[in-house]
């Protein structure tokens, strides 16, 4: 069992189908008689819709239907909702402006949905869309996070005066002010956390289908959380009641948060399928992904760190403006507040912290969660502040961190910003990272680089993450509209194999393998006899989906709970079979045994007896071996780690070469190290993308997206990143049965600060905006005068 159990680098069960082209992604599905939807989008960031003339388009070949604003409402189908509405510091709810599926009288961003054309072919739908005449009256647009609160900024929504969506705070402002008053040194930092576009390689897609026989709908969709999509589409859009709507999310080609929200296209496809009486299919092209997927990050922050003379942190203060875009996406107000502000303690004992976040509306695509969602922004502020403070005070950056780390005996550790960290050994993580990075040998390498005319720098990032928001009552108290448990069903089939239904959905994380390892390990069934089923509301009991690195900690724990029920029932059956009392039955490695005897029965035989109950205690026990469980965690889990990055900068060109990357992470218990390392590689690369390459740019007057294709938006390519060195420290999470914490977002959280710390170290400046393009780096070198003499 060891080679397929917990902790083994089991090769993935799902890979055969992906490698042979048999993956089944949403766009791979075709339904008989399907027609194609194409969305006409606003070319303006802000305009009044004076009228739409669809006459010519309706007569275009192949057109089946055209719908515009007001049509869904006429059928009682409501607009998109925000499922996480926070309460701000004045006790008021965040402002939630209406967000119709198809714009009614105003468009609010370039890409806003104006009309949908449904035709026999996609080409015909596009051809017809070109014939739609829209009378736009262009209005001034509010673009730019920092300018949104200016008194003369164009107003985005009447519901949000001054473009302010919320003004939120966490921490003790007075205590923090007092800490600053007695500080020996204060480090100040102004920074922009650049806006990103998630860019899963699979574009979003949806197929809506109506069955008049049963008066029910099916939606095939690129969703991270099909059950949540079903609740929202039922309860808020009123397309169909929950029991008449099936949502199927098949293989998903990456998501990173961008496939969590419920989007207009999906709702329109399912609604329109009944109206046109045929399945309606929509697949985004990449240009639409750029405009119409949620964006991420986009903060402007002023932050300060107060220190004692010995480098101990006394207080931290941050004021952030967070861009919401033109409308509130599904969890938009939670991302820059609760998922962000609670992480400002980092790994440190900073006693007083105050964080203020103002959410603002602008005429840009909605901003919501993207890998890390709030936590990368927090880590970036904390780790940049710490680095600059170390330089200003002449203390080694490692030493200043070490002096402030939360000690291992302080857990559970109550931070000044609400949360209680579960477990960790941050010094051990730091030591291991320093050793793997040969930190001690850095100076020699730097001198050697200098002889080659290169500027070499090293940077650290000690990140903290909060995974698996919980428990549900806390989620409710902070404005989250749903619960945050997960469900699982573990079903033995009569022939002894096991089907597991989980509400966690995989978008590449390898659940079919990692979850099967847990099941195989616990039930003693060969891994090939375990099948993991997810992504279909008709097959899976219920699910809250995959995001926030919650699948293993929450979804995995639900599976364990269900397995415990299976084993408990199995003991009753085995006791009957073995003619012993239940209390004497033990379960180990797939076998029920009677302690101190050689009497035993395999779990496969017990399963058979449960379904063919000829010799079975029917009078006191139901047949069958199939158990459900719901798991609502007691707390978040708090993975942490230390990433160390080493760069060489070419002073002539400003090009940054990442020459070494060490990641040491504490994810608690690791189920499959191969998969976890892969998650780290991918996360770090997205963080490298943010720090070096990616940036969403809008024209500041017109609001046009200037980075609207892969020719303008720089994706990390194979030659932009190095191979990574990954290590683990395991301090088990004390409050879930697997001891796991979550690993999906860590790399993206840690990486930007490590990289910017390294580059600024190399070129001798404190400040550098992301993405640190060669031009920006070159200019900074010129300003600092750090280029070696030629």
């Amino acid at each position: 069992m060891a080679e397929t159990g917990i902790g083994a680098a089991v090769r993935r069960k799902e890979d055969y189908r992906f490698l042979t082209g048999r993956g089944r992604y949403t766009d791979d599905i075709s339904r008989p008689g399907q027609v194609y939807a194409y969305f006409l989008r606003s070319p303006h960031a802000h305009a009044t819709l004076n009228g739409i003339n669809t006459d010519a388009a309706r007569n275009s070949p192949g057109v089946v239907a055209i719908y515009t604003g007001g049509d869904p409402e006429a059928d009682g189908v409501g607009g998109l909702i925000c499922g996480w509405v926070i309460t701000d510091k004045s006790g008021e709810k965040a402002k939630v402006p209406p967000r119709p599926l198809l714009a009614r009288d105003t468009v609010h961003y370039v890409g806003d949905h104006v009309a949908v054309v449904i035709a026999e072919t996609l080409a015909q739908a596009k051809d017809a869309a070109e014939l739609i005449e829209v009378d736009y009256e262009e209005l001034a647009a509010c673009i730019g996070t920092a300018k949104a609160l200016d008194p003369d900024a164009p107003l985005v929504h009447a519901e949000a005066p001054g473009n302010l969506c919320f003004d939120w705070e966490v921490g003790d402002e007075a205590a923090t002010d007092a800490a600053f008053a007695k500080a020996h040194h204060v480090t100040k930092l102004s920074l922009v956390n650049n806006r990103l576009i998630p860019n899963a390689i699979e574009p979003r897609a949806a197929i809506g289908e109506y069955d008049p026989g049963s008066d029910s709908f099916t939606l095939y969709v690129t969703s991270q959380n099909p059950h949540v999509a079903r609740i929202i589409i039922s309860a808020f859009h009123n397309v169909a009641p929950e029991h008449k709507l099936r949502v199927v999310a098949p293989d998903i080609g990456g998501a990173f948060g961008s496939k969590l929200p419920v989007y207009a296209e999906e709702v329109v496809c399912v609604w329109a399928s009944k109206k046109v009486g045929r399945p309606v299919k929509w697949t985004a092209d990449r240009s639409e992904s750029f405009l119409a997927d949620v964006h991420g990050r986009d903060h402007v922050t002023e932050a300060e760190l107060a220190l004692e003379e010995n480098g101990k942190f006394l207080g931290l203060r941050a004021h952030t403006i967070a861009n919401m875009g033109a409308y509130l996406s599904t969890i938009a107000t939670g991302t820059p507040t609760w998922l962000h502000g609670l992480l400002f303690a980092g790994q440190y004992t900073t006693p007083a912290i105050y964080v203020n976040v103002k959410g603002v509306f602008t005429h840009t695509s909605p901003v919501d969660l993207y890998r890390g969602a709030g936590r990368p922004e927090a880590t970036f502020v904390v780790e940049r502040l710490v680095e600059i403070a170390a330089r200003e005070m002449g203390i080694d950056p490692v030493e200043i961190r070490r002096r402030n780390l939360i000690p291992p005996d302080a857990f559970p550790y109550q931070t000044p910003v609400v949360v209680t960290y579960d477990s960790g050994d941050y010094a051990a993580v730091l030591d291991k990272a320093l050793e793997m990075a040969d930190y001690a040998g850095f100076e020699a390498r730097q001198q050697q680089a200098e002889r080659r005319g290169k500027l070499r720098g090293i940077g650290l990032s000690n990140y903290i993450e909060a995974c698996g928001i919980a428990p549900s009552k806390v989620a409710g108290a902070i404005g989250f509209a749903l619960g945050l448990w997960e469900s699982a069903q573990v079903r033995f089939n009569p022939t002894g194999n096991v089907t597991v239904f989980t509400g966690s959905h995989s978008q590449g994380q390898g659940h079919e393998t990692a979850f099967a390892q847990i099941v195989s390990d616990r039930l003693g069934v060969p891994i090939e006899n375990v099948e993991i089923v997810h992504g279909d509301t008709d097959r899976v009991l219920f699910g809250m989906g995959t995001y926030g690195s919650r699948s293993l900690a929450v979804g995995g724990s639900a599976i364990v709970k269900a397995m415990d029920k299976v084993i408990a029932k199995g003991k009753k059956i085995a006791a009957h079979t073995l003619e012993s009392s239940e209390g004497d039955v033990e379960f180990e490695a797939g076998t029920f045994k009677i302690a101190g005897t050689d009497k035993s029965v395999s779990i496969a035989d017990v399963a058979f007896a449960a379904y063919v109950p000829h010799n079975y205690p029917l009078e006191k026990l139901e047949p069958g071996l199939d158990e459900n469980a719901f798991y609502d965690p007691g707390n978040f889990t708090f993975p942490a780690g230390c990433h160390i990055c080493e760069v060489e900068v070419d002073p002539e060109t400003g090009v940054v070469d990442i020459v070494n990357w060490v990641a040491v992470d504490d994810f608690g218990k690791v189920i499959n190290p191969m998969i976890v390392e892969g998650q780290v590689h991918g996360g770090v690369t997205q963080g490298v993308g943010q720090a070096l390459l990616e940036g969403c740019v809008h024209d500041q007057d017109t609001g046009q997206l200037l980075t609207g294709s892969y020719m303008d938006y720089t994706m990390p390519r194979a030659d932009d990143v190095p191979s990574f060195k990954v290590g683990f420290i395991e301090t088990p999470c004390p409050h879930n049965p697997l001891g796991v914490k979550g690993c999906g977002e860590a790399g993206a959280i840690a990486a930007p600060a490590a990289l910017i710390n390294a580059i600024t170290d190399a070129i001798g400046v404190d400040h550098l905006d992301m993405p640190a393009t060669p031009e920006k780096v070159w200019r900074a070198i010129q300003q600092a005068g750090t280029a070696p003499a030629a």
């Binding site: 092209d285 994380q509 690369t685 294709s709 390519r717 194979a718």
Partner: protein, 155 residues
Amino acid sequence: MPTISMTVNNKTVTGEVEARTLLVQFIREHLGLTGTHVGCDTSQCGACVVHVNGRSLKSCTMLAVQAEGAEVTTIEGLAVDGELHPMQAAFKEHHGLQCGFCTPGMVMSAIDLLKRHPDPSEETIRAELEGNFCRCTGYHNIVKAVKAAAGGTGS
């Protein structure tokens, strides 16, 4: 509408297509071979790479009519009798894929890469794969897989 004919995965196929149909659309929509993916509209991502007459090619950059008479191999044509091609096996062994969406194009590109560079350095592999985006793996394990396949130690 023009009628076209070509060999795809060793089978002769014919179809009637609009002149504007791209090769990738013909492969996915007419032939139902959905292993070849579309990830962009500007020919950057490489999700659509197939082999045409033995060379890797982004099938979104070619019209179906241009492939008239060509020999096309898609990801579905690599494994023989259920046995993975050595490059596919190396990707599995070294975890060179997560969501699997970039994977078909990545594997097709990598096979062509090894034809041209039988013993590539890490640098060569990274430079050669520049036209294939992967958002999940950070490329680390893809590079490892290609190296292993080159060394014959794929699986």
